[in-house]
Structure formats: C-alpha cells, structure tokens
Amino acid sequence: MALASHRHISSCLCSIHSSLCYSTRPEMERSSLQRQLANLKKSLFDQGNLDEQFDQLEELQDDASPNFVEEVVTLFFRDSSRLVANIEQAIEKSPRDYGSLDALVHQLKDSASSIGAAKMMKECTVFREYCDKRNLEGCLRSFQKVKKEHSTLRLKLENYFQLLRQVGPAEKATRSGN
C-alpha cells in the first residue's frame, strides 16, 4: 500500500515538473525580470534618486506614446550633459561670473524636476545657495555631488529601460491595466 502511494506521488511530481519545464520557463524568466524591474524601481525611489514626478510621467505613457518616459529621460540627459559641461567651463573661468553660473544651475535644476530627479534637484539647490554666497569651495563641492548623481542616475535609468525592454509587452499591458 505504502509503495503504491509513493509511486503515485512521485509520478504526480514528475508530471508537474515536466509541465513546469515545458510551458512556464518563459513565464518564470519574465517574472524574474519583473521582480528585478520592481526592485530597481523601488531602489530608485527609496534612495531618493526619483520622486513622484517620475510616476506622473509613467502614467502619461500609453499605446499612443509607448516610449514616452524613455524619450523624455533621453532628452533630459542630452540637455543636462550639455549644462554640466557649461557649468564646468563657467566654474573654471576667471574672473568667475556667479550670475551666469547660477543661471546654468537653475536650468539644470528645472530640467531635473521635470523628470522627478529628486536628488539632482536637491544638489542643485545647495549649489545655487553657494553661488549666491559666492563661495567657491562650496560650489566646487556641490558640483562634484551634482556630477556624481548625474552619472549614478544615468546608469540606473539605463538599466531600468533595458529591463523594461526585456520584460516587454506583457509588462506594459500589466501597467496599463489591460
């Protein structure tokens, strides 16, 4: 009796196992990617790199504009890289024009706020305060932080969009509630 039920159980297990292998491996891979995606997004928010403005942008994405967020983020990094380079020049110029420097940092901050780049916004605010006080050392220090956050954010968002692409249409369908 015991032997028969053991054989029964193990054959059940075998058929479950093979059906899992046969039909759900792609689903298992996708759900692992989805988990990675969710974790990455959570980390971006928990670490303060992004705020709810980013969520607002994702809400605007739909079938008519399926890559809206990535397009806007690409525009942001194009503009912000140019601004960072201009700030670099302005900060090294002698004599220093703190007014122009502040105007550049202001632009960078505004751009950051439009995509929800919260940490960049904060670092820019500190930078502007040092500009206001004409404190060169403070400016240099906060500029280092701005550049660091800029690189970090770029990398994290590149990963994010790459994962999104891998997860593919199913993820988009889920997000749009279909």
């Binding site: 605007l60 504009s65 809206f68 525009l75 505004d110 751009s111 706020s113 749009s176």
Partner: protein
C-alpha cells in the same frame, strides 16, 4: 471616445474644431512633457522654444485657443510675451497661462494683473491642465 486613464478628454472632442494650444518653453524636456499632457487630453498642440517664435506662429496661424508659456526664457520672458499678446488687438482674447518652477508671489501677481489666465507651478501635472479646460477661447 475613450479618454486616457485619469484625464478628462475635455480638449478636442468636437468634430469640427479641435482645440489648439501653443506651448512655449525653451527646455526640450518641458516641451515634451507639456505636449504629452495636453495631447493626452486630446488637444492639438504646437510647441515652440521661444517667445519670438510664438509671435511668428501667432501671426501666421489665427486658430490658437490658448497659449501656455514658461516664465523664464532667454531673450523674451513669458511675462513679456504675455504683455505683447494682451496689447495686440488680434491676439488679446487668447488666454495665456504662465508656468514657472518658482513660487514667487510678486511674479504671480504681476502676471495675473497683466491678464494671465492662470499660473502653474512646475513640474506641471495632468490635473493642472484639466482645470484649464473651461478657460479655452
């Protein structure tokens, strides 16, 4: 017509006339965002990157139902654009909305006194735009 999740499609549902908004902003990121918000509410949107280009377009294209402009722009600010529009007999009826990332009461008051329809703080949200619905010409 189904409206996008969370936004009222008050924009351009009438078959004969779609509401046309001119968005003015020197930031490409902000132009992309405001255009998307407006389009998701079914408005027809034209974006330009300066006050000067806005005036050129207004000279050529009479069918603009609303202007939404950034405040801080090089060469011509949103306030200066507002003044020119309100002083023009052809353009003065067009509602003008100003956007700014800075909450400066004096600035807001000055714009409203000059005839601005509304003043939006950036970053602009879909909910900010849906309240402009009723102000279109």
């Amino acid at each position: 017509m189904s409206s996008p999740r969370g936004t009222k499609a008050c924009g351009g549902v009438a078959a004969d006339r779609q509401i046309h908004v001119l968005a003015v902003d020197d930031s490409s990121v902000d132009r992309a965002v405001i255009a998307r918000i407006l389009r998701s509410s079914k408005y027809r949107v034209t974006t330009v990157d300066s006050g000067k280009k806005a005036l050129e377009l207004l000279g050529l294209e009479p069918n603009v139902n609303m202007i939404i402009t950034d405040y801080w722009m090089p060469e011509m600010t949103g306030y200066e654009l507002l003044k020119i529009v309100k002083e023009s007999s052809e353009l003065r009826e067009i509602p003008v909305v100003i956007m700014s990332s800075e909450n400066v009461p004096n600035r807001i008051n000055r714009c409203l006194e000059e005839g601005a329809e509304d003043f939006l703080l950036k970053p602009v949200r879909p909910s900010d735009v849906s309240r402009l619905c009723n102000r279109m010409r």
